[in-house]
Structure formats: C-alpha cells, structure tokens
Symmetry: C2
DNA sequence: AGGCGATTGCCTACCGTTCGTTAGTTAGTA
DNA sequence: TACTAACTAACGAACGGTAGGCAATCGCCT
C-alpha cells in the first residue's frame, strides 16, 4: 500500500525542487538523485525536462482547482461575508503550507520564458473557477449593480495576502490578514449603507 | 555627452535580461552579445557573474529608494488621503514601466538561492523607508492609536496592486486600482466615523 | 613638449564542468 | 517472449571562468 510508483516519486521530487529553485535552477541530476535513481532513468518516464515540468504543473493546477472548488462548496450555508472571509483564510493556508503554493505562485509570476504560453493556458481554468465562485458569492451579498468594485477589491485583497505569505511569519501574516480583511469588509458595508 | 560607459551599458543590459529571465536563465554570453562585446571582456569590469548581478541589484534598490523618497517629498502639501493615493499610483507606474520593477519583484520573491541573504539585506533599507513614510502619513491622518490596521491594509493594497501589474493590461489594471482604492478609503473613513 | 612605461579594455583561444539527451545493455516480470 | 525500468557510457552544446596578447590611452619624468 505504501509503495509509491517511481513515476509519482519523480513528480513529487521534481515539484519540490522546481518550487524552490525554479525550472532553470533545477537539474535533472538533482531530481534523479532525490528520487534515488540515475539521471538517464528519468527518460523511461518522461520525454524530456519540459515534459516532466509541464506534467508537474498540470498536477498542481488540478490540485488547486479541486481545493478551491471543495472549499467553496463546504461554505455553502454560511453568510456571504463568512464565505469571503474563510475563502481568504483557506486560500492563504493552502498557499503557505504546501510547496504547491510556492510553485503555483512562481509559475504565475515568473514562468520559464519558453513555456509561458502553455503554463498560462493551464492557469486559465483556475482563474475562471475562482472568479465565478467569488462573483456568485458577491451576487448573493447585495444585488445592486456595482458589485464589480467589491469584486476588484476582493481580488486585490487576495493577491496582496498571497504576496505577503512570503515576507512574514505565519503569526505576523495572520495579523495583517485580519487587519486588511476588517478594513475591506468595513468598506463594503459602509458603501452599501451609504447608498 | 551621449557616450555611455561600457560599464553602464553592461549593467543596463544585464538588468534587462536578469529581469526577464532571472539569474539562472541569463548567461554571460547573452549579456555580452547584448552589449556588443565578447564574453570574456565582461571580466574586465566585474569579478564574476554574482558580482555583476549584485551590482545590478544594488543599483536597482538605490534607484527605487530615491524614487520613493522623492515622490513622498513632492506630495508634502497634499492631504493624507491624496498622499496615499498618489503614492499608490506612482508606485504602480514605476513598477509597471521599468524593468526595474520587474527585477525588483522577482528578487523579492524568488532570489537565487545562493544569494538570498545578500539580496534581502539590500532590500531591508527599502522596506524601512517605505514603512516610515507611510506611517508618517497615517499619523497625520488621524492620531488615534490603531493606525496599525490601516497601515496593514494599505500595505496589502500596495502588494495586491503590485502583483496585478503582471496579469492585466494597463487600462484594466488602472480600473482595478481605482476600485480597490475606493473601497479601501471608504473603509478608512467609515471606521473613523464609527468611533 | 615629447617620449615612455604602466594601465585599461578588448580580443582569441581554451579550460573543466555540467547540462539535457541518446544509445546500448541487462535484470526482472508477466 | 516481450516488455519494463533500471543501468553504464558517452555525446555535443553551453556554461562560468582563465590565460595571454595587442592596441589605445593615461600619468609622469626629463
């Protein structure tokens, strides 16, 4: 039951290395020795380095999509505010804990030049899912027309928090998240009341 | 008057390449051919690749520090709100237009492993300057104790906008910035009135 | 002012290493 | 028997970096 296939062991090791050192910064020797085999043996499982890399990235996007959709569904009964809040928190936790988060971020911001298009294509679906989930939450919050402002601001909040995962300790980061969130939701309520 | 020194031409070319392709993804041959000289000639100007790279990064931090301090000073007469807003806008423009912004971001998030410590050390000053400038603006806005919440939220806003520079077209990005800002400043005012 | 040694800035040629990748082979398995 | 997954050996290319040479320029001394 434990016996993980070599194929998967390669992907896991590659994921970890690609996440920490990037595509160009990771060599096939590194990966092979991490797995415990010799470099040419990798070619029994993958066509070449790019193929391996894209396979890893694909796995990452699928995992993230699943995570996000599951989280969203789990929150279905909650108030819209709570949904937004917990989505923010869960998203942060995911991005912080796993190397998945690391490579996700790296590839969104600095993909290897030669693979940029293919990578962006993979992330397109992710972005779509995220946006439609968030939009539907906002629509149930208040139905007036300019939900778009809140939408943009929430996405900015997500991105800002996403970014800060790297700079700060979990505790410090949590504090900043809370503060940013409070001001955000304050702004949302203030605006709706002001109408 | 035009004659730029080779030394500077190297740094400029290196900056551009490092920004777009990263440290590992950029070769000395690339740089040399961009400058119009041969690879070994680079060694008349720099000890090695790391030395060149750190020189570039140093220049970048100095330039950014100057920019930020100047912008802040130029806004001295304005209202705190305006100061915050224009700082956000100017910062965004800076990061979008120049390759300086690109490399700045890349190095803060994904520095080459072997140089991480030195790079972070360089950015320390930058962060300090930014924080003290923003803090002083907030202090003149309202003097009650929990300016820290607004501080955290503003930094998150900065980071979020910073991040989004990459995904969206300038027009789209501008729209998102406006919306995020509106909600932010809404939240700030609502909070102070609520007290 | 004029000669001159040292220095600068670039060159060609080349080094050792590591890179991604291929070829050919062998041991185990079904 | 045929396939799988590993191996050893080695490939050409590209990497960062060095050695040595040559022409222009600079600083200094008479």
């Amino acid at each position: 039951m434990k016996e993980e296939s070599t194929q998967n062991k390669i992907k896991d090791t590659a994921l970890s290395l690609f996440a920490r050192k990037g595509f160009e910064g990771t060599s096939l020797s590194d990966i092979a020795s991490g797995v415990g085999i010799k470099k040419p043996s990798l070619y029994a499982h993958f066509k070449n380095k790019e193929d391996l890399f894209l396979g890893v990235i694909y796995k990452v996007t699928v995992d993230y999509n699943e995570f996000f959709a599951n989280e969203a569904e789990r929150l279905n009964g909650e108030s819209p505010e709570n949904q937004l809040y917990y989505l923010l928190v869960k998203n942060t936790e995911y991005l912080r804990n796993d190397e998945l988060g690391l490579i996700f971020k790296r590839m969104m911001l600095f993909p290897p030049e030669s693979l940029r298009e293919e990578i962006y294509q993979m992330f397109e679906k992710t972005e779509e899912v995220m946006k439609s989930v968030i939009k539907s939450i906002l629509m149930q919050m208040d139905r007036h027309k300019d939900w778009e402002q809140v939408f943009d601001a929430y996405l900015c909040l997500l991105d800002g928090v996403f970014e800060q995962v790297f700079y700060y300790s979990p505790e410090e980061h949590q504090k900043r998240l809370e503060n940013s969130w409070s001001l955000f939701i304050n702004g949302v309520h203030c605006r709706t009341e002001g109408k």
